[in-house]
């Protein structure tokens, strides 16, 4: 048996001698720092979820009907009449939410350990592009079930483009191909969701990994192992603190994959709607262009950005400021490598100012998520009594959160460019591993 495999291996190798070196470069001879911690699981998990979305997505298209008259029924057809269709759909819908959980944690890891800093700016930019495309992908996927939240979500999000001066109104009609979200909108979103954007995503993921493997992975100490001492038990010329990705990180990632899948399976089998967070109650009502749902809000993973739109009031007769704020919130993340001129990468050795700022930034993000999901509107009466001025308190709280969110970037620029930051000494070698 082993002989057969090695013979096949040789046969392929003779005909494509370039393949093995590629495999070695990215797996057995990719020397990753040996001190990755739990935060380094989320890259491989994101890849796993991407595969899950593609496989379950392909099977959903086999029974989904991308027409305004048939879409809603076809989702129920999948949930009830197709054998195991419910599992495939729940894997896809839960996967969508978990995709963002994993990606947000992955991005937070980057902020914590300075993974966007030189020489990894390109890795970060490609990652941010993935995030942007992922948001477009998720939004269009959310429209496809054609429930009432899908419909009004589409209407509201597309209307964001209507705030652009001069061309806004025409642009909105062009995006929808109608005067309201309709058959044409659903059809084009379907085409983009199932083929166009996934192709772009896959390409970007390949580039993201290729760019990473050129410069090598960062680590929780922010020490570049490539510039440290050489010589490990596998190769005398390679970094002393590096270990081959395969098998050491493949087996380690397997543990993360197992645990992650157990959590995902728990949600899929026992809490597929996640209390209305992953699948919203109002989306069980078919799209109705005459009745807006009582609480119209996007899914949780968009709400932080959506809350920024809500918290920024219109001025000078246009609502474009909120939209600019929302896009600005994302653009600023793109610019992190240039906003942050910190001398050290890892939060372990950075000044207190950075630690506090990052913690506040994360809190502001969560605060905006709560506002965007309308959770604050429910919590305020509980906290401040039934007669509390919900909108007033919410706006005050929300605007503070918006200020903190943007303040993070301003502070970081001043803090690092003006040399206010007092860093701790960075060790020569990575410190720990588990």
């Amino acid at each position: 048996m082993a002989n057969v495999f090695s013979n096949i291996g040789e046969w392929v190798n003779e005909r494509a001698p370039g393949l093995m070196p590629v495999y070695r470069k990215h797996m057995t001879e990719y020397y990753a720092p040996k001190n990755f911690n739990i935060w380094y699981y989320f890259g491989s998990l994101a890849l796993l979820v991407l595969v899950n979305q593609i496989v379950t997505g392909i099977f959903l298209t086999m029974n989904y009907d991308p027409s305004a008259s048939g879409a809603f029924d076809s989702v129920q057809y999948i949930m009830r009449d197709v054998e195991w269709g419910w599992l495939i759909r729940y894997m896809h819908s839960t996967g969508a939410s978990l995709f963002f959980v994993v990606v947000y944690l992955h991005m937070f890891r980057g902020l914590m350990y300075g993974s966007y800093q030189k020489p990894r700016e390109l890795v970060w930019l490609l990652g941010m592009l993935i995030f942007l495309v992922l948001m477009a992908e998720a939004f269009m996927g959310y429209v496809l079930p054609w429930g009432n939240m899908s419909f009004w979500g589409a209407k509201v999000i597309v209307s964001l483009f209507g705030t652009i001066p001069v061309i806004g109104k025409d642009l909105v009609e062009w995006i929808m191909g109608d005067y309201l979200p309709a058959d044409a909108t659903l059809n084009r979103f379907f085409a983009l969701h199932v083929i166009a954007l996934p192709l772009v995503l896959l390409l970007l993921v390949v580039l993201h990994l290729a760019a990473l493997h050129e410069v090598g992975s960062n680590n929780p100490d922010g020490v570049d192992v490539k510039h440290g001492p050489k010589g490990n038990r596998w190769d005398p010329t390679k970094p002393a603190d590096g270990i081959p990705f395969h098998p050491y990180y493949t087996v380690k990632d397997m543990v993360g994959v197992g645990l992650f899948l157990a959590i995902a399976a728990f949600i899929i089998f026992f809490q597929p709607t996640f209390g209305g967070w992953f699948l919203e109650h109002d989306n069980s009502i078919p799209a109705n262009n005459l009745v807006t749902p009582a609480q119209i809000k996007p899914v949780w993973y968009f709400t932080a950005f959506y809350a920024i739109v809500r918290m920024i009031p219109s001025a000078m007769g246009t609502a474009v400021w909120g939209v600019l704020g929302m896009f600005g919130a994302i653009v600023l993340l793109f610019l992190m490598p240039w906003i942050d001129a910190g001398k050290v990468k890892s939060i372990r050795y950075r000044g207190t100012g950075y630690k506090v700022a990052l913690a506040l930034f994360v809190l502001a993000f969560f605060g905006l998520v709560l506002i965007g999901t309308d959770s604050t509107a429910d919590l305020i009466p509980t906290l401040f009594g039934a007669s509390a001025d919900v909108t007033g308190i919410e706006n005050l709280f929300g605007r503070i959160m918006v200020l903190i969110y943007f303040g993070f970037f301003v502070f970081l620029w001043l803090y690092t460019h003006l040399g206010w930051e007092k860093t701790k000494p960075v060790p020569e070698r990575v410190t720990t591993h588990d």
């Binding site: 739990i38 599992l87 543990v255 197992g258 209390g275 967070w277 069980s284 009502i285």
Partner: protein, 246 residues
């Protein structure tokens, strides 16, 4: 190190679940107390639904055959005791009231109830069925505290009897508020029996909203256990390989 992270994660996850549980409560409604694994309750609920509701409300996403399979009924049970509309065993549950007529009688077509519990929640449906009262000001003679100005006359009145509102002490300037409902004429069922009947209908509609819920709970526990077992094996493997790393 890792243990600390895992416990932080577990805590965060627990908090998130806790928040969602709080969020799901919404307006104050008594808990429906449904349990879709209570097959007897589902069967009773189905009987009430097919006797009192299907005249106007369809369940267009579920088939008679599926109901029979999931509720442990035979084809004969379903076709003789539940299916009064002449549909085939494999057909979906369609009401026999033409939509146009309904539009004329009630001002709006009675909605399909296949996804009612998914959309509104079991507590809402249960509360709705408990909250009809006589209202001479309403054109249909009925009103409802959960859904004010509901277009539906109370179909289960002969079971529950008729309720009338008890008003709160009037405060000048405000519209009169209903404090609670009280039974005027008892129906065929005692209040406790009616609660159970309303719970059974709600339970049946909850099942209809997502028949797959029966299957997913059945398989779920094994999938999770298998994955935890795999994680344990993988962690042993990881420890073994990482002996190389110093």
């Amino acid at each position: 190190m890792t243990k600390r992270y895992i416990s932080i994660f577990a805590l965060a996850f627990g908090l998130l679940l806790g928040t969602t549980a709080v969020m799901a409560e919404g307006p104050e409604l008594p808990a429906a107390g449904t349990n879709i694994r209570d097959t007897a309750s589902l069967q009773r609920g189905a009987h009430i639904f097919f006797n009192y509701c299907v005249g106007c409300h369809s369940l267009k996403y579920i088939r008679y055959e599926r109901i029979a399979d999931d509720l442990g009924l035979t084809e004969d049970d379903v076709m003789k005791n539940l299916n009064f509309t002449g549909g085939k065993f494999g057909d979906q549950v369609i009401s026999h009231m033409p939509a146009d007529d309904a539009q004329k009688f009630f001002g709006k077509a009675p909605p399909d109830l296949s996804l009612e519990v998914s959309a509104k929640g079991a507590d809402w449906v249960f509360g709705y069925l408990n909250s009809f009262y006589l209202d001479p000001k309403s054109p249909i003679g009925w009103n409802n505290t959960v859904l004010p100005n509901a277009a539906m006359p109370f179909p289960l009145w002969e079971l529950q009897g008729t309720q009338v509102p008890v008003m709160k002490p009037a405060t000048p300037g405000d519209d009169p508020q209903i404090e609670k409902l009280t039974l005027l004429h008892p129906g065929k069922l005692s209040p406790e029996q009616y609660q159970q009947a309303a719970r059974d209908v709600t339970n049946f509609l909850e099942y209809v909203s997502e028949p797959a819920a029966l299957q997913r709970r059945h398989y779920g526990i094994w999938v999770v256990l298998f994955l935890l077992g795999f994680t344990f094996l993988a962690s042993l493997l990881k420890k073994e390989y990482w002996k190389d790393v110093h």
